[in-house]
Amino acid sequence: MISSVIIATGFLTITGLVLALLLVLAEKRILNYGECKISINNGEKELNVAGGSSLLASLAENDIFIPSACGGRGSCAYCKLKVLEGGGAIGPVEEPYLSDEERKTNVRLSCQVKVRNDLKIEIPKELFSVKRFTGIVEHKKPLTYDITELRIKLTDPATIDFTAGQYIQLESKEYKGRESVMRAYSVASIPSDNQAIELNIRLVPDGICTTWVFDHLKEGQPVNFSGPYGEFRLSGTEAPIIFIAGGSGMAPIWSIIRDMKEKNINRKASYFFGAHSQKDLFYFDELKALEKELPWLTYIPALSGEPENSDWKGERGRITEIVPKLFPDCSQHEAYLCGSPGMIDASIEILTKAGMPKEKIYFDKFA
């Protein structure tokens, strides 16, 4: 009796092991595609990778991080890029995520494209310098009733190299059945403070990532993000500047202004911050102090919904009314806008009306 139990167990273990070993060997032999060459952006960069894994993973091995929130399962569709040659047919997992337009231009989900032969792909240039970071929430402090400041201390890599005005993509973790997503947030801290980043995050009702930050993320918890991304930054000219921001659009401007101070860039700058009432203002004292300290900076908060009889001594009204009042002629200025699409579109309209050429208006739309 006992002997048959032992024989049976032994036999099954051995059979299982032998077959598993055979499969591993077969995988090594059969699924060996040799070395494949990935040519990026018309030969601008060439990578030699071992074939067999996904394009997303092969690129990540070579420190090119394509945004991806689902970890290559093919459910987030962030990792889209153009595969011009060698991608093979569109797989069943990709089907639902590709529009007709994208199919025509050879857009694929890089996590579903397997590197089987030489590939030619196209990715946005900025992704070359993008890295994936791990950090720990150093503090989370409310700035207003719906905006919180998140400071993330970097652990791996330990420092970040970015330009004031750029943004990162924060990865939310899964909670209560909501999937992991990536959301873009501008960096509010300055580039010289390179061992941590600060973000200003505004609570979006029922937003997956912001709800996670507000309700589930705790100080001391590890978080992941990738970056830096974006072309929003100060130009190299000497033209006087008009900054316009609203809500969490404060972040990149807050970073740029302090970066200017540090680098002794003394361009004349006027910062219009649009808010509803006093409870929506943040970094107010800090900005007022900076205004006193820096002769080139003027800070002009404007409140559109402040009660008539309150103690508010600053500007009242919409930002789009205040700017033309103070700057009837903007033809020599440059403008940097950051905030909701509605605010940006309205600001572009009034600025062009005041004589500013369109190419002098830089903006970062928070959609």
Partner: protein, 202 residues
């Protein structure tokens, strides 16, 4: 009627193939492999894709399991382990096939998609490997039995797929749409296949 043992090898192979495919149809007479059949038989071409893969796997695993049974399990008196051994052999074989197809025919691999791993849990395949033990077959006869069984399954799922394609636009009662009507179709078809039964006894 001549018994299978008295036929020449060639005749017996043909007889076994035909009987396994028609009179003893694994899907319609024995109702095995129903889950993947219900899941995949919406269109003729996907049905045929899965059917073809099943033919290949049943024939190969029936032969493979025959060898394992005759030359490993019987000599070591481990016949009682046949069920689990067959399952392991089938799973490993499907994995291997999946790799080979992926390497040499990415187009077919893409087209078969999830069907290939599904075959591992298709009970028709295990069924064929187990039924062959009750029959006095040699190696080639077992192979024919597996091939015929797989072909029968292929035929059945393709026919069902064809009928489902035809009735897709029909106004069906809500409760019957989908698997409901498919099961009724399979029932009627199996009546037709029962008509074959008894034609050949193997």
């Amino acid at each position: 009627m001549t018994a299978i043992q008295d036929m020449s090898l060639f005749t017996s192979i043909i007889v076994i193939f035909i009987s396994a495919a028609f009179t003893d149809n694994i899907l319609l007479a024995r109702f095995l492999g129903m889950c993947s059949c219900l899941g995949v038989s919406k269109k003729v071409d996907t049905s045929m894709g899965l059917g073809a893969a099943v033919i290949f796997v049943t024939a190969s695993t029936a032969a493979l399991n025959f060898l394992v049974y005759q030359y490993i399990l019987i000599p070591f008196h481990l016949e009682f382990l046949r069920l689990i051994t067959f399952i392991i052999v089938i799973a490993a074989f499907v994995q291997l096939i999946e790799m080979i197809i992926e390497r040499f025919s990415p187009a077919l691999y893409n087209a078969l998609g999830i069907f290939l791993p599904l075959i591992t849990v298709n009970c028709a395949i295990l069924g064929i490997s187990l039924f062959m033990l009750n029959k006095p077959y040699g190696f080639w006869q077992t192979f024919a039995f597996g091939l015929g069984g797989g072909f029968g399954w292929f035929l059945a799922i393709t026919l069902i797929g064809g009928i489902r394609e035809k009735i897709r636009e029909e106004a069906l009662p809500n409760g019957l749409a989908g698997p409901g009507i498919t099961l009724i179709i399979i029932g009627i078809m199996s009546l037709a296949f029962v008509g074959f039964s008894g034609m050949i006894k193997i």
